[in-house]
């Protein structure tokens, strides 16, 4: 029996498995999106608070510092596909929060990642169409200068869709009252978002 090649192969295989394990967070996350969600659950990073202009034309801070939890999602109002789904999902989430009496302790914010095009008027129009009430659920835009850092902090990647629009990793971001990002969920996962909000409120 020749031991050198056997030992070398075992060492190489061990190294490869360790490397793959490291590169996939222990074989749990094979995509950047899965990794982002896993990191948030495990590390709960603090998101920067930014001033945003809402659909009413007022300026608020997101996440708010008044002890409310926050649910943030990103859209652009010209979006024909996923943003509609997420709009409907947020309407359902808002209704659920109102039903369960959590509405006063949560702020839902839909943020535009296309603040140059999305004026307060178009935000208000989008909000009206989807049922944003401006109180529990508002639609807002950040200052263009804040946008790159904001998207980076949330882990949002916006790319052109090749047809004049944008594609992004749409998701619901649940932030606890201390400003930590606690969970990232699929846009249509209303139940999960509600549970995450309860969890974030402690």
């Amino acid at each position: 029996m020749r031991w050198a090649p056997i030992i070398a192969t075992v060492v190489a295989a061990t190294g490869v498995v360790a490397m793959l394990g490291w590169a996939t967070d222990g074989f749990r996350a094979f995509t950047a999106e899965a990794a982002r969600r896993l990191a948030v659950v495990e590390r709960s990073p603090v998101v920067p608070s930014v001033r945003v202009e809402t659909m009413d034309g007022t300026w608020i801070t997101v996440p708010p510092v008044d002890g409310r939890a926050t649910v943030v999602e990103f859209v652009y109002t010209g979006c024909p596909t996923i943003c509609r789904v997420s709009g409907e999902a947020l309407a359902r989430l808002r209704a659920r929060l109102v039903e369960t009496g959590l509405a006063g302790r949560v702020l839902i914010v839909t943020l535009s990642f296309d603040p140059q095009t999305d004026t307060p008027e178009s935000l208000a129009d989008w909000g009206r169409r989807h049922g944003a009430d401006g109180r529990v659920w508002t639609v807002a835009r950040p200052r263009p200068a804040d946008l790159p850092a904001l998207l980076d902090a949330y882990g949002i990647v916006v790319i052109p869709d090749g047809a004049g629009g944008w594609v992004h990793n749409a998701a619901l971001h649940v932030i606890d009252p201390s400003g930590r990002l606690r969970a990232i969920l699929d846009v249509e996962d209303v139940r999960g978002a509600e549970a995450a909000v309860r969890d974030a409120l402690g």
Binding site: R2, A4, P5, I7, A8, T9, V11, A12, A13, G15, V16, V17, M19, L20, A23, T24, A29, F30, T31, A32, E33, A34, A35, V157, I159, D161, G162, V167, N169
Partner: protein, 267 residues
């Protein structure tokens, strides 16, 4: 190619991959199927420069091939592709690791791999392309945040094309390969009891064999059957597996019996 030329050629490929970074990484298909192969190719060219590292540990090439497969697997992960787009450190790691841990060990491994392992790798490469083609054309979700679903499908088609190209590349030479010879100079009937009594320099003339095989087949049939590949299936004749010693029968004419493992064909 001498060492200096190899280093220059490898650096040239890496430079092309780096200079064309933007257009190549603009599409998922060219990122994975053009830029990454360029970097792997750089490593393959560079491989002989790592000869000093090659040794007993790499007998059969398995250890080096495991390293290469691991490196390629890491860069096949959708999140690694995304990371290379967004994170300069990951991009640098890609440019360094694909030549050094991907291409070079691939070449060092294939070089020492026995034919069976090479054939296994060839079949595996084709199968893997098929799997990836299916995955990327049918995945219900966007796998890379940095690329659209359209780009994803394009990569799937690319893997399909690559798989077909590899399959053709592996299969086409087979049409040209020499036919499996029918017992070049006639089988010795070991189990017929003939071989034991023959001297070592017996050259196994067909007629002798057929006399040994006697009862099973008349000499004429056997002579034809050994004469041309077309008649190999002639029932009742002795067939031999190709001799393991295919050299010309000189200077030590037929030191081995001409047909190493004769067996009786099933009728």
């Amino acid at each position: 190619m001498n060492r200096r030329r190899r280093v220059l050629a490898a650096l040239a490929l890496v430079a092309v991959a780096a200079l064309l970074r933007e257009p190549l990484e603009a599409r998922l298909a060219t990122h994975v199927l053009a830029q990454m192969p360029l970097l792997v190719a750089a490593g393959v060219i560079l491989a002989p420069c790592f000869d000093v590292l090659d040794g007993e540990w790499n007998r059969g090439g398995t250890a080096a091939l495991v390293v290469a497969a691991g490196c390629l697997a890491v860069w096949m992960l959708p999140r690694s592709v995304d990371a290379a787009l967004r994170d300069p450190v990951a991009e640098l790691a890609k440019f360094a690791s694909l030549p050094v841990l991907g291409g070079a060990p691939l070449a060092l491994g294939v070089r020492r791999a026995p034919p069976l392992l090479r054939a296994f790798l060839a079949a595996q490469a084709v199968a893997m392309c098929g799997v990836l083609a299916f995955l990327y054309t049918h995945a219900p979700v966007r796998l890379c945040n940095g690329y659209t679903e359209e780009a994803q499908r394009e990569l799937g088609i690319g893997f399909l094309a690559l798989g077909l190209a590899l399959a053709f590349a592996f299969v086409l030479p087979l049409f040209d390969a020499p036919d499996r010879p029918a017992a070049p100079s006639g089988p010795t009937g070991i189990d017929a009891g003939g071989a034991a009594g023959k001297s070592a320099d017996d050259t196994c003339p067909v007629s002798t064999v057929c006399e040994i095989a006697g009862s099973a087949s008349p000499p004429s049939v056997c002579a034809k059957s050994t004469g041309g590949s077309g008649r190999r299936g002639t029932p009742g004749c002795w067939s031999g597996r190709a001799d393991s010693n295919r050299r010309p029968a000189a200077p030590k004419a037929a030191a081995l019996p001409a047909c190493a493992t004769p067996r009786h064909r099933r009728r």
